[in-house]
Symmetry: C2
Subunit: 293 residues, 2 copies
């Protein structure tokens, strides 16, 4: 794991809080809980959205959110990102005048939620994206990735109630982000990739969260051809993945997994019988519950 | 469980879809995945929001959402609820002219997301609510509820990737709803309670999801004094629960649980040592992963 570019920092005191309470025996205990704080995002002069986040990477989150919502174009020049921790505000400035304000004002007449209106644009772009048909997922990589990610110290293991997303290349986890919402974790990775110039070629995306339509859309937007999760599927997630020819692997725990789209990219180079089942600690991870008294 | 008023119907063919894929051995399998579909909500003439839902109870979801967002007052007379499954639209009509349209139009000038602006109103009301200080949670009820809920056939056990919420009285689960989003499951229960005239007195709210600020706010809005979850906490959820004197119990699995707010309502009438740990099937439930081939 020496070559991970970014991994969780469970010792960062800003991200968890220690609180007192009672356990099942009526005994006073102290436990760590994960922090969620509001962050209001501005694009140039326009207030866009207020997100609930752990707040570790406001800059990556802001840029990734704007990219995944098509409010920022990949070729837009970002002239500044200002974060004010006290005001809980992040402002992204671009050279190009963004037209989001007009778009928003026009569309709110027909729809109550800005998120919903933007969705329309996103789907148009979704249909035009072609993912690399020659990308490959070896099952040996899949097993190696799951194991390394589960063993990496994380906020999840320290405090629970959090989702993780990991950008991987072959059998190597590269960027491991956590957040209270899985959409934030994926947006932070999108922002990191954009700002550091990391492309989607040869990448695999891993998430602890469910494979919903939203996760599939964001992965395709990021042009990553393979999406893997410990959790389950929704029917619309499967349908969209098939439409985009995204390789969609879910319920990946221990030796087991199920692929429901883009199966042609999978190379079965491992004998599942030789793969260890997950230990108790891994099972707790999957349960999204962890005491840390 | 004979007296549950409403429970999941995993045999309802509209709620899951059977899809084909490959398992870890490269073998073709068929598995059930849960359906998510858009539902656009109108209040009188005003389009409010598009929600992603399994779509089993559009009427309860619509009314519960409007109540929990303070767009509908508890004393508003509902004159009609029309659901068009083909158009994926539900319209709630009231006698009183609702003022949501003006409110929305005015506020979108300062905030990009209608959800965010409504939040302000909701917090004002939150501060004024007093929960019943004399309500009680016996630990024997807590253990009995967890066991009954885990053993009830559900979409979760059939297809995974779904959240459950249960309204309970003492040791009895009354209304058990599931949905792709835990906020939808809780809104459906709020709508059911309102339309069937079920009050919050003596009730306990159980959820499979995390105890975030949103879950705490909705439970308090519904005036239910006790919230229990299998999952973990966020710091803001704990803070809000303490402010409202909501009894907040999390990480409730087998004999274990942690209470981080409103501990004074808990009566320790069980010996945790005598409580069975959860079996493998329960552990799978907690993991939000379930094969159903």
């Amino acid at each position: 794991m020496a070559d991970m570019l970014l991994k969780p920092d469970p010792d960062d005191a800003r991200l968890t809080r220690r609180v007192r309470g009672l356990d099942q025996d009526g005994k006073t205990i102290e436990t760590a809980v994960v922090v969620e704080r509001p962050l209001t995002l501005f694009l140039n002069g326009q207030e866009v959205v207020t997100m609930m986040t752990i707040g570790d990477f406001p800059d990556y989150l802001a840029v990734g959110y704007l990219l995944n919502q098509n409010m920022l174009r990949p070729d837009d020049e970002i002239t500044g990102i200002d974060h004010d921790a006290e005001l809980e505000v992040v402002v992204v400035r671009t050279e190009r005048q963004t037209d989001f304000e007009d778009k928003l004002r026009k569309k709110t007449l027909t729809s109550g939620c800005a998120q919903g209106t933007v969705f329309g644009d996103v789907m148009e772009k979704f249909d035009s994206i072609r993912l690399d048909p020659d990308a490959v997922l070896k099952t040996s990589w899949l097993y190696a990735l799951s194991k390394q990610i589960n063993l990496t110290p994380s906020l999840y293991l320290a405090a629970g109630a959090i989702h993780g997303c990991v950008l991987c290349a072959e059998d190597r986890p590269l960027i491991y982000m956590e957040d209270v919402g899985r959409h934030n974790a994926i947006d932070k990775i999108a922002g990191y990739m954009h700002l550091k110039g990391i492309g989607p070629e040869g990448k695999i995306f891993y998430t602890t969260g469910r494979l919903t339509s939203e996760m599939v859309i964001k992965t395709v937007q990021m042009r990553i051809p393979i999406l893997v999760s410990r959790s389950g599927f929704t029917a619309w997630g499967v349908e969209l993945a098939r439409k985009a020819d995204l390789t969609l692997v879910g319920r990946a725990k221990g030796k087991r997994f199920v692929a429901l789209a883009g199966e042609h990219r999978i190379r079965f180079d491992s004998d599942p019988a030789a793969v260890e089942e997950e230990g108790a600690r891994h099972q707790r991870k999957g349960s999204l519950v962890e005491d840390a008294v």
